[in-house]
């Protein structure tokens, strides 16, 4: 410990460290980076990859709220992705993309709320099983409920997105729309990160009984994070439906639910940037391994295991560890500090 540093009244902490971080700058940085990509890339194939990454990022951000902050092990994210897609396609048939998106949010949130209330008393493993069952039921409904979803769960000719008379009817225009959507999603999550809600959700996630003895509404917080995260998935579904113009039940199976888990595990469960990085890996890595041919699945699997074993905190955790090492090296360099008043590295908050 270095009391010289921490007892200095000027450097005294007046707010929790989470408020001292620059999440909003990070959001701006993301928008700049994605915009550069949108400008530099020029083929339909690359625009497709970029769009998939951005859509999966929104899905992953939703799952970060459900699992990363809320601690709820849910397989239902893919089902809400599908619900958003079908709701939006249905509601926009005779209206517009905007009404479709709104319908996706409202229906997604309402179904998530009802489901959450229904399984309110389940938790952990049992909750996970109920979400798996929900996903299976949703697939059957998508396939059989023709009036809502189309014959056999297939909907074609979904209108392209539009806003205020502007048509997002080309690949590059849709990429810009998706960059905006991910920017808004990141901004909303950043506002949660920079608010008491983050610490409350993490506390309920870590020790619900202790959190209750502190007066926290544990059930309400779990429910809120589930509904919020599921609504993000519904928005991603709406964007996916209007981007591709076609949806079928194959796109919302448990395989997608597992991909969403991978996004968070690979990117990092404990950071809002985890889903962004994880989505890039899940979308890009299989494509870049195409040259291997028949062994692609095997190599991808090995790569996943390696990343999870070597970087248990995800790829974002790797960046943070590297950054902390650089800071530590600088802070303990006698030529930089000139004396022993270097801040104790243990005081760093590694998030």
């Amino acid at each position: 410990m270095t009391p010289e540093v921490v007892s200095d009244p000027v450097s005294r902490v007046r707010r929790p460290p989470v408020y001292g971080r620059h999440q909003f700058l990070g959001v701006a940085g993301f928008i700049v980076f994605a915009s550069i990509l949108a400008t530099v890339l020029d083929s339909a194939y690359n625009y497709g990859l970029l769009s998939s990454w951005l859509t999966m990022s929104i899905l992953g951000l939703g799952f970060y709220l459900v699992f990363g902050l809320g601690g709820q092990f849910a397989f239902s994210q893919a089902a809400f992705f599908g619900l958003g897609a079908y709701s939006s396609a249905w509601a926009s048939r005779s209206t517009s993309f905007g009404w479709g998106l709104l319908a996706a949010i409202v229906i997604g949130a309402a179904v998530a709320l009802l489901f959450s209330l229904l399984v309110f008393r389940t938790n952990q493993f049992y909750f996970a099983i109920t979400t798996l069952a929900f996903s299976q039921i949703a697939l059957v409904v998508f396939r059989e409920f023709d009036a809502f979803t189309g014959s056999g769960g297939e909907v074609i000719g979904i209108r392209k997105p539009d806003a205020f008379g502007y048509q997002f009817n080309t690949d590059v225009r849709i990429v810009w729309l998706l960059i905006g959507a991910v920017g808004v999603a990141l901004f909303l999550v950043a506002m949660i990160e920079r608010s008491p809600l983050r610490r409350e959700a993490l506390a309920v996630h870590a020790q619900p009984t202790v959190a209750a003895t502190l007066g926290m509404p544990t059930g309400r917080l779990r429910l809120l994070m589930f509904v919020l995260g599921s609504s993000f998935a519904a928005v991603a579904g709406s964007l996916q439906a209007h981007r591709s113009g076609f949806i079928s039940t194959e796109g919302f199976s448990v395989a997608l639910a597992i991909d969403i888990f991978l996004i968070l595990l690979l990117g990092g469960v404990s950071s809002m940037w985890g889903p962004i990085v994880g989505a890039a890996f899940v979308v890009v890595a299989p494509e870049k391994l195409r040259f291997i041919g028949n062994y692609r699945g095997m190599v991808y699997g090995i790569l996943l295991i390696l990343v999870i074993v070597v970087f248990p905190k995800g790829l974002v955790g790797l960046f943070e560890t590297g950054w902390n090492r650089i800071r530590r090296r600088q802070s303990t360099d006698p030529e930089i500090l000139g004396d022993s008043s270097a801040p104790d590295p243990s005081l760093e908050v590694g998030r």
Binding site: I192, V210, A212, V349
Partner: protein, 249 residues
């Protein structure tokens, strides 16, 4: 004043706490002692709603909803645990902030729609949290993750967290366990200080000197039942207590 009446806890066929009743007036300290397994911690768990129980309890004349930890805390009953139960991933100040009784704008409204109001409430909460961290000597560690604190500091952090919501009574489950003599003395000083400000204390502990130095009344449990109660000087002379602690002969 806390009044517990006929508190009983059953685990299947086992009666862990059997019809326990006593009062803890404001500004006083009651020590709850007894051999291992006598039901002391279970009694605290029952009062704070962590385990199901029967009986009634009231705080300042208002009935406590047993079995509902959140309602119990909001009614003014705070506690610490046998082993410190802090949130290691959060900073020390965030741990204390969690327990503040002012919960305005801590939800989605504060995060998304009413940020200026949220900031105002947060600033007031930060100040209170820092004041309480300083009270227990952890002001310098405010932004440090709780997981990096020593065991003694973890206990102090939990104490700060339990005091921040201005409770009417504080239940402490073996607060001196794992503390050295200096830390125990410091803990005793802080507890006497908050008691003198009118807070009622209910302390479960095994350190006799610590209990003697703090408590106005001692209640002795054995196999879930009250076997003795009164001023410390009377209780230690009670043959039942002597037998319970030292054994026959």
């Amino acid at each position: 004043m806390l009044s517990a009446n006929g508190i009983t806890v059953r685990f299947g066929g086992v009666v862990a706490v059997d019809n326990v009743s006593f009062d803890v007036p404001d500004g006083t300290t009651l020590g709850l002692i007894g051999p291992n397994g006598s039901g002391k911690s279970t009694f605290l768990n029952a009062l704070t709603g962590v385990v199901p129980s029967t009986g009634t309890a009231s705080l300042d004349g208002r009935r406590l909803p047993l079995g509902k930890p959140r309602s119990t805390r909001r009614a003014g009953l705070a506690r610490t645990f046998q082993t410190p139960q802090n949130f290691g991933e959060l900073s020390c100040i965030e741990n204390v902030l969690l327990a503040d009784s002012d919960r305005r704008f801590t939800g989605l409204t504060g995060a998304w729609l009413a940020r200026p109001s949220m900031w105002r409430s947060e600033r007031a909460r930060w100040k209170r949290a820092l004041d309480h961290l300083e009270l227990v000597g952890l002001g310098a560690h405010a932004e440090q993750p709780a997981s990096l604190l020593s065991y003694g500091q973890q206990r102090m952090l939990e104490l700060a967290r339990s005091l921040v919501g201005t409770p009417s009574i504080l239940l402490l489950d073996e607060p001196s366990a794992g503390l050295n003599a200096t830390e125990t003395a410091e803990l005793g000083r802080i507890l006497l200080d908050v008691r003198d400000r009118g807070l009622a204390l209910l302390i479960v502990d095994h350190k006799i000197d610590f209990i003697d130095s703090l408590c106005d009344t001692i209640v002795v449990l054995q196999l879930g039942r009250v076997v003795a109660s009164g001023a410390p000087s009377e209780v230690w002379k009670d043959p039942v207590v002597v037998e319970a602690y030292l054994g026959e002969g």
